[in-house]
Structure formats: C-alpha cells, structure tokens
C-alpha cells in the first residue's frame, strides 16, 4: 500500500488548542497528521483529549487556537454541512434514529443529498452486505437489533454517502468481548477493501495495536508520541511502557503488521 498521490496528508492539526468555556484547557497545542488510507488510532485515558480531537475534525467543536485542515483546506473556511457529509462519523452509543427503520437510518444522508429512491435502496442493500447484515434487517427498527447489529448499522450509515474519511469514537467500546473481537476483525477486512482514511479513538491498547497503522498516544491534552504498533511495544516512553505493562502478555501477536 504505497501512497500514489503526493498530497497524502488528509487530516492535519496544527498547534490546535481547545479550551472549555470555563477556562479549562482540553488540548494544548496539538500537532497531528492522518495520512490517506491509514488508520490512526488515538489512544489515551478518559479526559486525555481523544474525543475532543475527533470532534474538531468534523467541527462539532471549534478550536480555540490553531488550525485544522482536511484535504489541505482549513475547515474553518469550508461549509460545515458539506464537510460533515464528506466525513463518516461513528460513536460508541451509535445514535441510530429510533423512529426510523434500518433502511431509513442508513439512507438518510443519501436521501437529503437527493439520490433517487432506487439508488438509495441498492446502496442500503450493498452496505448491509458489506457490514455483514442480512438484507431483511432493512425493515427493522433499532430497538429490534442487538448491540453488535446496531453498531454494524452505525458503520453502514457512516459509509452511506461513501466518505473518504471515517471518524470512529470507541465504536466497539460498549460491546461484549466476543462481538467486539468479531467486529474488529471485520473492520480490518473492510478497511483493506475500502482504504478509508480513519481516525479511531480508543482506550484499549489491544484494539489500538490490532487496528492501527499508527498509534497516537495522548495524555492530558497533549500528544505523547506517534508510533506504528510494533514500535509502540518497544517504545521506551514511560507512558507507552505503562500501557504495555497494564495490558500484559501476548500483545506482540495482535499488533497490526501491515504498517508502512
């Protein structure tokens, strides 16, 4: 997977500062790049600023300082609705619309974008297959699905208008261990086919090692280090060492090997 285009940086954060209205700083001068087709995992504990970073990319939050660029353009100057529709967003609680069927959930953005009904229908079928769900699921309501099925629909919905970028905020965090394992495996397979540019937030080192092309370790609003999974395991950074120790044995075997 060698980059073909010269402009391989898709998401770029420059000296980004984010301060809460009450004056509490959440991000203190963050510099970060996500390359085309990679899965950059933001790893850190609660409150380290991972989710804030993600929300700055689709402008759910506005930085107090610094600049965020997507495809080279500063997003502060772009149309926020267009920006968000070009970025898939998946969150832990999924947030499916409870009054819509699975089909309407997945097809909402295409419908708003004015796709003809037949094209939306075909797209929904295609996406359900892609995330491993039966086509019959299309007519179900979210409350009729299991947690794993719901998150699959969440991923399908994020992919609906075929965005080049995906932001995923602990998407598998609320699932049981077996389902999580399965969805992680499917995510890898999916990512191999689709080659999206992904920013993925987690606090689980195993998940980070398994899914990430690179791991960005965050702590207290700052970026500690950015390393490919296997180098992360050998890192001498005290926080990285702490993580590796906390998660114990057998990490080497899960580490994503397809890193550049």
């Amino acid at each position: 997977m060698e980059p073909t285009s010269a402009s391989k940086t898709v998401i770029e954060l420059r000296d980004v500062v984010y301060v809460l209205p009450n004056g509490q700083p959440l991000l203190r001068g963050l510099n970060l790049e996500v390359q085309r087709g990679e899965t950059l995992v933001l790893l850190g504990r609660s409150g380290s600023g991972k989710t804030t970073t993600l929300k700055l990319i689709n402008r759910l939050l506005t930085p107090s300082g610094g600049q965020v660029r997507v495809n080279g353009a500063p997003i502060a100057e772009s149309d926020v609705i267009r920006l968000r529709r070009s970025i898939g967003y998946v969150i832990q609680d999924v947030g499916l619309f409870p009054h819509f069927t699975v089909e309407r959930n997945i097809g909402l953005v295409p419908k708003i974008e004015g796709w003809p009904a037949e094209r939306i229908h075909l797209r929904v079928e295609e996406l359900l297959r892609l995330v491993g769900l039966d086509a019959q699921m299309a007519s179900r309501y979210p409350h009729q699905l299991s947690g794993g099925q719901r998150q699959r629909v969440g991923v399908a919905r994020a992919l609906a208008a075929d965005p080049a970028i995906l932001l995923m905020d602990e998407p598998f965090g609320a699932l049981d261990a077996l389902t999580r394992d399965q969805l992680q495996r499917e995510f890898l397979a999916l990512q191999q086919r689709l080659n999206k540019t992904v920013a993925f937030v987690t606090h689980d080192l195993r998940e980070a090692l398994r899914l990430g092309s690179r791991i960005a370790l965050m702590e207290a609003g700052e970026l500690v280090t950015v390393l490919p999974p296997r180098e992360f395991l050998r890192s001498s950074d005290p926080l990285a060492v702490g993580y590796v120790q906390a998660f114990g044995e057998g990490l080497e075997s899960v580490a994503n090997r397809e890193t550049s």
Partner: protein, 210 residues
C-alpha cells in the same frame, strides 16, 4: 323533574353552548400550540431563553383566572369583545404545559442521536423536523392534552365576562339556585374534558417512540 328530562327539553341550547365552549377551547389551544411549540424549541436550543420563557409562563399560570379576565378587560381590541378576551386568557393559561413539554421533549432526545445527526451533516432544520420533533411528539402532545383538559374547565369561567360557553348554565344555575342548570353546564363540560383526555392520550401512545 329529572336531569335527563331537562337535557331533552333544552338540547338545542345545550348543543349551542357546547359548540361555543368547544370553539373557545379549540381556538385558544390552537394559538397556544402555535406560540408555545416555537417558544419551547427556542428554550430547548438556546438555554439563555429557558428561564425567561418558562418563568413568564409559570407566573401567568399563578394568576387567578377571574383576575386575569379583569386585567385584560382594559386592553384595547382584546377587551372590546368578551370572546376575544376569553380566548386570550385561555391561550395564556394553555401556554405553560405546551412550552414546558416541548422543552422537556426536545431536551429528552438521546444526546447520542443528536450528536450522530449533527455529525452526519444534518442542518439545524433537518435535525429539528426529522429527528427532534418526531421523537418529542408524544411528550409535546401530552402537554397539549393537559392544556385542553385545563382549558375545558377554565372556559366555564369565561361566562362570567359574557363570553358564553357551558359556563352560562353554571352561572345561571348558581344565581337561580338550580342544580339542574348547573349540571346542564357541568356534565357536558366533564364529558368534553374526558373525551379530549382519552382521544389525545390515545394519539400520544401511538406517537411514543419505541
């Protein structure tokens, strides 16, 4: 003379006053919905407006109804006709449950749903009409139901200022110490309140999201 006999004999006037009553309640509820739902939406989306809007509606609610009719009498245009005045007063009373339930309903929409909607690029308007209002509909309707039931009762007092409605019978009955006359106003009013409660309650259950 029993009550049934009285009802049969005076069914035309009872019907007429019931329709008048329905008109007072219907128009004022409609106005309260048209004003209250937007105010509820504003309070829910812009917290600065929350206290002034709900606070004002709350204060209005505490004014005794007869006093409110009295206060509104000198208001130009409004005070000129009793039915206008009654409709305005009933609208003001109906505002609070409508505003409050709209506010509660919209604030009660799962924050993950709103975040997902915003994240996928819905505009504020799309989010409101496709997600927030449909999900808040049953709560809003329950506010309308309370407003209607309260209005049916309150509207009987409107007869005191000559606005008509079933209160006519009640006040006439009080003046003449005639229980049948009082019942001729009270029974249809109770039936109206109960059927509004039942009908809107049924609709509310149907709209409730799963």
């Amino acid at each position: 003379m029993n009550v049934l006999h009285f009802f049969l004999q005076n069914h035309e006037e009872i019907l007429e006053l019931t329709l008048e009553h329905l008109w007072l309640v219907g128009i004022s509820t409609l106005l309260a919905v048209l004003i209250g739902i937007p105010l509820g939406i504003i309070s829910a989306h812009w917290p600065v407006w929350n206290k002034p809007v709900l606070g004002t509606a709350n204060i209005i609610q505490t004014i005794p109804s007869l006093a409110l009719f009295g206060f509104l009498l000198p208001v130009p245009w409004i005070g000129a006709r009793a039915d206008r005045l009654a409709i305005l007063a009933l609208t003001l009373y109906a505002l609070l449950p409508v505003i409050r339930n709209t506010y509660t309903g919209i604030r009660g929409v799962d924050s993950a749903v709103v975040e997902a909607g915003r994240g996928m690029g819905l505009t504020g308007r799309q989010l409101l009409f496709q997600v927030e209002l449909p999900l808040a509909a049953s709560v809003i309707l329950s506010g309308v139901r309370v407003a209607v039931v309260v209005s049916v009762g309150l509207a009987t007092i409107a007869a005191a200022i000559g606005a008509g409605g079933l209160g006519e019978f009640i006040f006439r009955g009080l003046a003449m110490v005639n229980n049948q006359l009082i019942l001729a106003g009270a029974i249809p009013a109770a039936v109206l309140a109960l059927s509004a409660d039942f009908g809107l309650g049924w609709l509310e259950r149907r709209l409730r999201p799963r």
